[in-house]
Amino acid sequence: MTTTTVTNILLVGVGGQGTLLAAEVMSEALMAAGYDVKKSEIHGMSQRGGSVVSHVRFGQVVHSPIICEGDADIIFGFELLEAYRCLSFLKPNGTVIANDLRIPPPSVLLGKEPYPGGLAERIKASGAELILVDGLKLATEAGNPKAANTVLLGALSQRLDIDERYWQAALEKMVPAKALAVNQKAFQFGRAI
């Protein structure tokens, strides 16, 4: 019933990367566009360098605030390993939009195991459509490497059926005034992907 009309986006990243803010901007834009929206995440321990996962669901009526494994339409990853880790959440033939960035987890930092290789290939091999974004490079070009998540939002916005002005309004509302111009530019770079 209602489940069939709900779109599920799972945002994943590493604590401190701005995953939560990206989910905020996305939810604002979706609400302004007239959807029922639910967003869910866990704060606390997970924010100290741990994995961060945000669930965003939108449609006419949304009940559950969380996405189950196998139900995500899009995985929106700010770091490659985290995107790969959550792959079981993706629907068959779903889309992965991922930042081409590797942040070593503790065991890798300590030299106990390597950062897993060939993640992009493994994501593709699963049948997912992979859109790999060089967020850092484009954000630096836009004026600030920290705007990488806005580049990714731009790439995502091209794949959701909502008017661009809602995204613009959400950015204006959520991004601090002095960082706005850079983020608007970063968003446009993302839209061009």
Binding site: S27, I42, G44, S64, K91
Partner: protein, 584 residues
């Protein structure tokens, strides 16, 4: 006006709309943002209390004074506040009082998974439980109204999923025309000596009956009839999962979890072929339904541990699951103390001294994780000191010297002071380390009496921890800079060897404090690859900025990420070859 609000933000908004005048809390995930958001409503006096018991007592005072009040805490905080709660149930209120308990099924950031619905029944106070942010706002206001109508505190229970999920909320107007707060003498109601309390106990029992009747027609206890094949009684976020997974089922959605509307439940049960109770954690509703003689299925198929999910419900009701792949072993990403965290060197030192560390609740609980691995117990807020006292009472004199309690400044002020008082009074020869980083860091940097600022951002008296310890009778109080490893080690060794109670205060601000002058970044450090011998000594700190660079055939080398490094220079002190230096 519509807005996307989290459950916590919506409760803050509800407090404003309900005309709440006083709000008090101790921070604790997942409840923290309630007070942090209440601050934006200038009509409300919002403050952090040193602990949950005090927070509730402040709320009680405001209510007795005739104002509407809200207190908030996480589930385990209610254990601390339970003493005043149980008697508040007897005195009742004057201004409406909402008591928020934010429970944490799945213990995302807690030490246990208790289901605080049991407190409502135990303390004999009504409890409401919202299922989304809109209800968080509406129920807060309703709770205040019920509180005044029935002369009772009202508990509002949320769970992590409700506290931290955002959904669309329609904003309303604040209540107007409330009576001005004023002193009122009514000892028969507010002085709970046995003679008065016996009378109030009878009132409490009658009140529960009246509330149960009230619940029969209360709109938030809602029947949604669809197919009569399956009927589900449910509450809170579990309602959302039921609607998602069993869209055709009839539902009795309870907004008031205690007391339950027996008549409504009976009528609903009679209308459906098969009755289920779907609730997170304890069979709280299920047990009562079954005690009413109504056959129902609940914990037979719904797990008693952890959070529910739609997937768990699908399994429980034998519905097809979406196919998923086998999980693969990938490097995990557990939480870690920040780069430059002042606690890191202390735990490194305690580990090297082979101390038996009784731990406590805060960022420093992460000192348990490898490679620091220097924490042996962790029970509840303030327990470290009492635990250390108890252990020193039973172990041999040699082992006694190893016992060190660690506690943060905020936790010490929360419930460590009395523990230390006991340690001194009863002459337990342990060492207490107060990890003083001038903030309540774990929950996201809240002010506390040691930080010098209030929740509203005003400067205030800053407690002097060393002086406080002296006053409690500790003869040996020493303050060290935890960034100075040699000094920290020397002082710890001396105090651990001392057969008397002693306190070592390690003083350095949390690296995340943004306030001007609190934390200052040092110069980023770098490893000189020519000198680095690959001995891995610096890796024992577990600083996220230090990265091991393996190298084929030869020894690997350490490298420091200049963006993450805060320049604390602790790692430089560990390198025997002086390979770590400031980045020029």
């Amino acid at each position: 006006m519509k807005e996307m609000l989290s459950g916590n933000e919506a409760i803050a908004r509800g407090a404003y709309e309900a005309g709440i005048k006083v709000a008090s809390a101790y921070p604790g995930t997942p409840s923290t943002e309630i007070l942090e958001n209440i601050v934006q409503y200038k009509e409300i006096d919002a403050s952090w209390a040193p602990n949950e018991k005090v927070a509730l007592e402040v709320g009680i005072g405001a209510s007795f004074g005739g104002a509407r009040a809200l207190v908030a805490m996480k589930h385990v905080g209610v254990n601390v506040a339970a003493d005043p709660l149980f008697t508040l149930a007897y005195t009742g209120v004057k201004g409406g009082l909402v008591f928020v308990t934010a429970d944490d099924p799945e213990l995302h950031s807690s030490q246990n998974e208790q289901d605080n619905r049991n407190y409502a029944r135990f303390a004999k106070v009504p409890m409401l439980e919202p299922a989304d942010s809109q209800e968080c706002k509406d129920f807060t206001r309703l709770a205040v109204e019920i509180s005044e109508q029935f002369d009772t505190p009202v508990m509002l229970r949320t769970t992590t999923r409700i506290s931290h999920s955002k959904s669309v909320v329609t904003l309303g107007e604040p209540a107007g025309g409330l009576p001005a707060p004023a002193l009122e003498r009514n000892p028969a109601k507010y002085v709970m000596l046995p003679g008065n309390a016996r009378i109030r106990h009878r009132f409490v029992e009658e009140r529960t009956d009246r509330l149960a009747d009230f619940g029969e027609t209360l709109a938030i206890n809602r029947v949604e009839m669809r197919s009569t094949e399956i009927g589900v009684i449910t509450v809170g976020v579990a309602y959302q999962y039921v609607r998602e997974v069993l869209p055709e089922a009839s539902v009795l959605k309870l907004g008031m979890v205690w007391p339950l509307p027996a008549g409504l439940i009976r009528r609903f049960a009679a209308q459906v072929d098969k009755l289920y109770v779907v609730e997170e954690l304890d069979p709280f509703i299920e047990d009562q339904v079954k005690a009413m003689g109504i056959p129902a299925i609940g914990k037979e198929i719904i797990p008693i541990c952890g959070e529910l999910t739609p997937a768990i419900l699908r399994t429980a009701f034998n519905l097809p699951q979406t196919a998923t792949t086998e999980p693969e072993r990938l490097p995990g990403r557990p939480p870690n103390m920040c780069p430059g965290c002042p606690h890191r060197g202390v735990f490194y030192t305690l580990n090297s001294l082979k101390a038996y560390v009784t731990g406590d609740i805060g960022c420093y609980t992460l000192g348990f994780m490898p490679p620091l691995s220097a924490m042996d117990t962790c029970v509840c807020m303030g327990a470290s000191i009492g635990n250390a006292t108890g252990i020193t009472k039973v172990v041999s004199p040699e082992e006694r010297q190893k016992v060190v309690a660690v506690i943060g400044d905020s936790t010490f002020l929360h419930s460590g002071i009395t523990g230390l008082l006991d340690m001194v009074y009863n002459k337990a020869p342990a060492t207490v380390v107060i990890l003083d980083n001038r903030i309540t860091a774990m929950t996201g940097r809240q002010e506390n009496p040691a930080s010098g600022y209030t929740l509203m951002g005003e400067e205030t008296f800053q407690v002097d921890l060393a002086q406080l310890c002296n006053t409690l009778g500790v003869q040996h109080v020493r303050t060290v800079d935890p960034y100075d490893l040699a000094d920290t080690k020397r002082v710890l060794q001396e105090e651990m060897a001392r057969p008397e109670p002693s306190v070592v205060i390690t003083q350095r601000p949390c690296v995340l404090i943004k306030r001007e002058g609190a934390f200052e970044r040092g110069e980023s450090q770098a490893v000189d690859f020519e000198i680095c011998s690959g001995c891995k000594a610096c890796l024992k700190l577990g600083c996220p900025a230090i990265i091991w660079q393996p190298s084929e055939g030869e020894r690997g080398k350490a490298m420091i990420d200049p963006l993450l490094c805060t320049g604390c220079e602790v790692c430089a002190q560990l390198c025997k070859f002086s390979a770590i230096k400031a980045l020029r």
